[in-house]
């Protein structure tokens, strides 16, 4: 889950780079950047969940 989360974070950033490099300025570029931030938010959620301490480790 942790690795998937970090890959989603990186994936989101690559979408941002692709959007600003390939798309013309305007609504489509902004939409792609916002979607990419959504992908990053999902990745961040997974990374946080992966670091929740399992109950057995707390004991």
């Amino acid at each position: 889950m942790k690795l998937t989360g970090f890959l989603l974070l990186l994936g989101g950033w690559i979408i941002v780079l692709a959007a600003i490099a390939l798309l013309p300025s305007g609504a489509s570029e902004v939409s792609f950047v916002l979607m990419a931030l959504g992908v990053e938010a999902l990745g961040l959620t997974l990374v946080f969940r992966a670091h929740l301490i399992p109950a057995r480790e707390r004991k």
Partner: protein, 427 residues
Amino acid sequence: MTPVRAAALSEASAALCLVFVLLIPSATAGLALINAGLGRFRNAAHSMLSALCVIAVAALVYFVAGAAWQGSAGQAAFAWHVAGHDWNWIGAGRFFLRGLELGGWSSLAALFGLMSVGLAAIIPLGSGADRWRLGASCASTVLLAGWTYPLFAHGVWGGGWLAQLGFVDSGGAGVIQVVGGLTALSVTWILGPRRGKFSPEGMPSALPGHNAVLVLLGCFLAWLGWLGLNAAGAILFTGVAASRVVLIAVNTTLAAGSAALCVAAITRARFGKTDASLCANGWVAGLVAVSAGCAVVRPAAAVIIGLIAGALVVYSVEWLELHLGVDDPGGSVSVHAVAGLWGLLATGLLAAVAPGDAPGLWLAQLVGIATLLGFILPLTYGLNWLLNRLSPQRVAVEGERQGLDLYELGAGAYPDFMTHNEDFWQR
């Protein structure tokens, strides 16, 4: 995208800027005091010594390689040519600051970098407090000052691709604070929580800081340092006139004050009493958040930035600890990463720019935030994870029980204090 050129400074502006840069160590001292005060008394000397060592390591590493990777506007840089654009991603300056012209813009920028990299490096000490080995924190700083920080700083302040997009971060909310805050998050994940912090059911227990006076004194020092940081950064990297420094000082003070008052009001309303350590965190969060747009927002906007930064700190400290199991004794993640990200976003939303420039600025700020979360966080986590595989960063159980002062330094900060170790009794 157009290449960003270094600003030409008049002699008076350069002298004024030098004075502001020399105030930055006050911010570093403030954060060191806050980190020490929010930790336990048996780790206080270790915390202050770690701060000093980390600043020393950061300065040396930045001198050797960091400044070369960061580069400065108009100087040599590595670039990729993709889809008709030149992506200027890292500086190609000379190591050991060779070829630096003394007295000009580039020497002031190098001095500013030397001071601000220490400030960034001290931030993770707050999250790793009470369990991070001295040697490990220095090794982690080598990676931060030698690679992570210069990489992002080049993009923003070195004439790199984010600057070419129009990203605004005058005082380093992203470059210094969020980079430091995300490293703090990585460190706290890798180290794990302090012993006794979470019950087997996952409920956090309060481990309050040992000296609220140190924490609050740290806030005063941080305020002074931030005035210099924001003013110098704005003159050097946003190209504002020295006459605009008054606005920057007003914005910086208003944001810090409104954030602290917001935290005081929220904690009073929720808990019945005002929480001193959270108010201190709120004060610094206000300073952090306004750093990005201190030169381009109006005072009323600075108040809004501060109020929201204060509220964010209260709720993110609670959320991180209660729901996400993050043990961050100094609140570094909330104060520096969360508030810094809010400051970058707020600059895009509230900056007083021409209506035609607003959408471009907003998009550039979003791209900067996406880069911090999508590139800097995995990078800093990966580097610290590798470091931890090579040599564990966390102190041994015995060291945590005894206190890092005695375990690593051989003497405590307060030799007359009695040590109570009830929190290590088996329950």
